[in-house]
């Protein structure tokens, strides 16, 4: 078998699956809590408008959750089939963390989702509120375990060798490894922003399509206010996460900032076209001493460049660009949310062009999340588990032909699913909460 070909196909397939999958949890983790808020508003007020709101967003949630579940089942198989070397080398760490996710989160959210969706008339009100809460708790617990594992792959800690096997020495250190608190916070806030822009965007769409609608005005305001609060918090959390990365994964920072050579007084590259072949930046626009100042809070400070990590350095161009997409989207989302909160103050209805803007921002969170995910995962290359396992050593087993055939099947299935999802979402939002 051609290993290089199998490696590319295995990565393409896994990247496609996980990239598709991440869209839905990144929405449902926070949407679960927003739903709980709607549900409690209804429980306390008895206002049918809140009930209608809750039911509409329950449908959006159910749809997104189903997309996440089915693509997640695929992932649980691909860990083993696409990366057999991964389980061989670090299975004693990764396995239990995944098992805990299934045990503590998946059953909880799936079971209570049934009660939440179909049980409103069958259980007392408080049991239904409790079920909604359990769904939200379940999605968050799920994020906890998967990010513990993902963070451990970036910044491994707490493991020891037993013969040739890597095992956990101290589970608490494995779970709460150095990058975990930052990554977990960053992801939860990303989910909050993704969900609040989906809520605001679809509500704006509803107002554009059907005119006045009290429920859509409520949810537009809810989404915008939530986004306006979370966006600055996210910028702060992202900055702290970056400093944590500088400490534990300096190679990733070198790629993000396109720093090729180790040196003092390193400029901040605002824009450039990094050339991975020649190891230099073309068309660079730089702020002198900027990178040293931002990352070390000292304009003269030394920063490590790509040259310090070769041959174990990440490709610079994709990481560099993805990072700028993420930050750019973040800034745009902040501006949109703040101007939106201003435009909806004291129950005002925004101008039509603003509603169009919010509609356009519906999936802004997805773009930022995917870009951020590319930054962190490509920035870790060539390592799968930093310092322990290289990606190319984890691939194997399945032939290129089988990977190619199944990849084609997945691409077709995912395309159909995504189109259907977007059509149904637009349709649901257009019909509004009363339908």
């Amino acid at each position: 078998m051609d290993t290089a070909e199998a490696l590319i196909l295995a990565r393409a397939q896994f990247g496609l699956n996980i990239g598709f999958h991440i869209l839905f949890p990144s929405l449902t983790i926070a949407l679960g809590w927003i739903l709980l808020y709607f549900r409690i508003r209804y429980a306390r007020s008895g206002d049918p408008a809140w009930l209608a709101t809750y039911k509409l967003w329950t449908k959006v949630f159910a749809l997104s959750f189903a997309m996440g579940v089915v693509s997640g089942i695929t992932m649980s198989f691909q860990f083993g089939t696409n990366w057999p070397g991964y389980m061989q080398r670090v299975g004693n760490i990764a396995g239990p963390l995944l098992a805990y996710e299934v045990l503590t989160a998946f059953f909880l959210e799936a079971t209570f989702l049934g009660v939440m969706l179909f049980g409103m008339n069958r259980v007392p009100g408080w049991v239904h509120v409790f079920s909604s809460a359990m769904v939200a708790v379940g999605t968050t617990i799920s994020a906890f375990w998967i990010l513990a594992l993902n963070s451990w792959m970036h910044t491994p800690a707490g493991h020891v060798m037993d013969g040739s096997q890597i095992i956990a020495g101290e589970w608490l250190q494995v779970i709460f490894n150095p990058s975990f608190p930052y990554r977990f916070t960053h992801m939860l806030l990303a989910s909050g922003l993704t969900a609040s822009f989906v809520v605001a965007g679809l509500s704006a769409w509803r107002l554009l399509r059907a005119g006045e609608d009290a429920s859509a005005r409520n949810t537009l305001r809810t989404g915008l206010v939530l986004a306006a609060v979370l966006a600055p918090l996210q910028i702060l959390a992202g900055d702290l996460h970056g400093l944590n990365t500088l400490e534990h994964q300096p190679a990733k920072i070198a790629a993000i900032e396109a720093i090729w050579k180790t040196g003092k007084s390193v400029p901040l590259v605002l824009f450039a076209v990094p050339d991975d072949e020649k190891r230099r930046n073309d068309f660079a626009i730089e702020i002198p001493k900027g990178a040293s100042l931002v990352l070390r809070h000292d304009g003269e400070a030394e920063l490590q460049g790509i040259d310090a990590f070769v041959p174990d350095a990440a490709p610079v161009a994709p990481v560099f660009f993805a990072f700028r997409v993420m930050v750019g989207m973040g800034v745009l989302m902040l501006l949109a949310a703040w101007s939106g909160v201003w435009a909806t103050r004291r129950g005002m209805l925004p101008q039509r062009w603003m509603l169009w803007t919010f509609s356009g921002f519906t999936f802004a969170g997805w773009i930022a999340t995917l870009a951020g995910w590319l930054v962190t995962e490509i920035g870790r290359q060539p390592w799968l588990v930093t310092g322990i396992l290289r990606t190319r050593d984890a691939v194997g087993g399945v032939s290129g032909a089988q990977l190619g055939a199944s990849l084609t099947g997945y691409i077709i299935t995912y395309t159909v699913m995504l189109i259907a999802y977007l059509v149904v979402l637009t349709h649901l939002a257009g019909k509004g909460a009363d339908a």
């Binding site: 997309m67 579940v69 693509s71 059953f107």
Partner: protein, 330 residues
């Protein structure tokens, strides 16, 4: 006292797989029966599985999860050998999972399309699982005969899931639809008989180890209780559906209970054949097991979580007990 960890996890994995087969089996079966029902009946059928299918599929994640984390070496071997049927099953499960959500929101020909995809996904996933079972019990031997055998097992498992689905509908519906389900159940039962017979004959023929385990007097006499009980359970399904059809006294849960008994007995027989192998004649559970430190850590989680899991699963089934009603989101 020290626990035999690989044995404990083999038992847990077996339990998870059996739970998956029975639970997702009935909702896959209902999916496969969709084309045989009228539009109104389809709504009732979907309503009967709506609150459960998500959690049912989670048992698959748990089963595969235990295989992956407790027996990593076997996971690579088994899923590597079954790569394409696994991919087909996943595509099937994805299609039916989202079709379930989409069909409710769709109108006109869109709904027809999603209904079709719901049926197709259910069928593809069931057939692929049967194919995997057929390949697995014959030790992944290549060759036309083995492929044909696996395809027969695939068809039989579809029949088995139809039986589960139909008996589930007997419990959850009434009137005309229940009558139809009684007829569907009997068709499914014939396929189950074929599947159980096929696997029971094939495993001892393929493996001398299995043969030696079953044909070893006087143990054989005690072991014969298993097939006898299976036949008795099959007869119970046939008789109960007959009584319900004629409107005589019978519990509406009896066909489902007897069907679950068939699946449990067949599963027990298979487990007895295989043990202590996780891949027949090639790899035992001990050879495949993960490091004891990983298994111990997981066992703590299982011990803490399992009672809660059972409790809220029972809670959910109690909430939705009784006959299914249309109007899913009301």
């Amino acid at each position: 006292m020290s626990l035999d960890l690989p044995l404990v996890f083999a038992a847990l994995m077996g339990l998870a797989i059996l739970m998956y087969v029975v639970l997702d089996g009935y909702d896959l079966g209902v999916g496969m029966l969709m084309p045989a029902a009228s539009a109104d009946e389809q709504e009732l059928m979907v309503a009967s599985i709506g609150p459960f299918w998500d959690a049912n599929e989670t048992w698959l994640v748990l089963g595969v999860g235990i295989l992956l984390v407790a027996f990593p070496a076997a996971h690579g071997l088994v899923l590597g050998a079954l790569y394409l049927p696994v991919a087909a099953m996943l595509v099937g499960l994805m299609l039916r999972g989202v079709a379930f959500e989409f069909r409710v929101k769709a109108e006109g020909w869109h709904r027809g399309l999603w209904n079709w995809l719901f049926w197709f996904g259910s069928f593809l996933a069931s057939f692929a699982q049967g194919l995997m079972l057929g390949r697995y019990v014959t030790g992944f031997h290549p060759g036309f005969g083995y492929t044909l055998f696996a395809m027969l097992v695939g068809a039989s498992l579809c029949g088995g899931y139809v039986l589960l689905g139909a008996t589930w509908l007997i419990l959850k519906t009434e009137g005309e639809l229940q009558k139809k389900a009684l007829a569907w159940a009997r068709w499914g039962l014939l396929w189950v008989a074929l599947g159980v017979a096929l696997v029971s004959l094939a495993t001892p023929l393929v493996s001398h180890t299995v043969q030696a385990k079953w044909f070893d007097f006087p143990r054989t006499l005690a072991l014969m209780l298993l097939p006898i009980a299976t036949v008795a359970a099959g007869w119970r399904v046939w008789a109960a559906t007959g009584r319900l059809k004629r409107g005589e006294r019978e519990f509406d849960w009896m066909p489902l209970a007897a069907t679950v008994a068939i699946f449990t007995l067949a599963f027990a027989g298979l487990a007895y054949s295989l043990f202590p192998y996780v891949v027949i004649d090639r790899m035992t559970i001990r050879e495949a097991a993960a490091h004891p430190s990983a298994l111990k850590f997981m066992l703590v989680g299982v011990a803490i979580v399992f009672p809660f899991l059972v409790a809220y699963t029972v809670f959910a089934y109690r909430v939705f007990r009784g006959k299914a009603r249309a109007g899913l989101y009301e």
